[in-house]
């Protein structure tokens, strides 16, 4: 068989197989394999943050950042709130590249599930287009005074932007130490605020990839 004849035969065979597949003549084999697990957000961290995350997970064992994300952040989206004045003074006027408190190593930001923050903000909307700090505070388990005045609500897709995320630890910049058992806005290790809201530590949250909404 010369070269041209062989090519024609192979071409015909592949057409027959292709048509059979398209008509459903060959059923794909049944599989019990689970879809591959979503990549850990810790994979986006540098060695320093990976080390801190490993220690935090060891302290929280058998819990850890991956279980925390699966349980409380299934869409991998986070949000947080700032007073509008803080946003203007510390993000806009400084031309900040990352949200959060920055030292020589990184920028550190506490964030909560977007659904929880968006839901609380929606619930707190008033007839005059503003927000009720008491409703917002109650929904997030924090004191109402923290929500007074115009706010900004930030939203970031951690998976899409491949942002390093881990459990917060007591040594993180900005940690508010609890002084009384009644405190509801201080830091408690384990991925939840003392008021019970899920939280994570986001490292180097990029300003340009974050959606910012005004909450009058």
């Amino acid at each position: 068989m010369n070269f041209i004849s062989r090519a024609l035969v192979l071409g015909s065979l592949s057409t027959v197989v292709g048509c059979a597949s398209m008509k459903g003549g060959t059923k794909p084999p049944e599989t019990t394999e689970q879809p591959p697990p979503a990549a850990s957000l810790v994979d986006n961290c540098d060695d320093t943050q990976k080390g801190i995350s490993k220690e935090a997970d060891a302290m929280a064992a058998p819990y850890g950042i991956d279980q925390h994300i699966e349980k409380n952040f299934p869409d991998r989206k986070v949000s947080w709130l700032m007073t509008d004045s803080a946003y203007q003074k510390f993000v806009v006027q400084t031309g900040a590249k990352n949200f959060g408190r920055c030292n020589d190593v990184a920028c550190y930001l506490f964030a909560a599930p977007s659904a929880a923050i968006h839901g609380a903000v929606e619930k707190a909307k008033t007839a005059d287009g503003k927000h009720d700090p008491a409703v917002l505070g109650q929904a997030l388990g924090l004191p109402a005074k923290n929500f007074e005045g115009p706010l900004r609500m930030m939203t970031l897709d951690l998976a899409a932007q491949k942002v390093c995320t881990r459990l917060p630890v007591e040594a993180d910049p900005g940690v508010w130490k609890c002084t009384t058992p009644e405190d509801t806005d201080c830091f408690k290790f384990g991925g939840y605020t003392s008021g019970g809201a899920p939280e994570v530590m986001v490292i180097n949250a990029p300003v340009t990839d974050t959606q910012v909404a005004e909450i009058p």
Partner: protein, 81 residues
């Protein structure tokens, strides 16, 4: 426009200001998933420490305020420009 002069703006999210009367204040962003500013007026000893040590002192003072925002009753919530 604010009458205050910004002496130091830190990426740790605080700034040191000098008012029209010459007194120094530190304004610090506190909180976790909800962030807001509080302001503390520096006393004479703190003012001297800031003048002597600069950023090293204000970093320490800002971290102390972040860890305990009421700061012994000395802080006030701040939302001005």
């Amino acid at each position: 426009m604010s009458d205050e002069e910004v002496l130091l703006q830190s990426p740790l999210l605080y700034r040191v200001l000098r008012g029209k009367d010459g007194a120094l204040s530190i304004e610090v962003v506190v909180g976790g998933i909800v962030q807001f500013e509080v302001r503390v007026r520096l006393n004479a000893e703190e003012t001297e420490s800031f003048q002597r040590e600069g950023r090293a002192f204000s970093d320490r003072m800002a971290q102390a305020i972040m860890a305990n925002p009421p700061f012994g009753g000395r802080s006030v919530k701040s939302s001005g420009p």
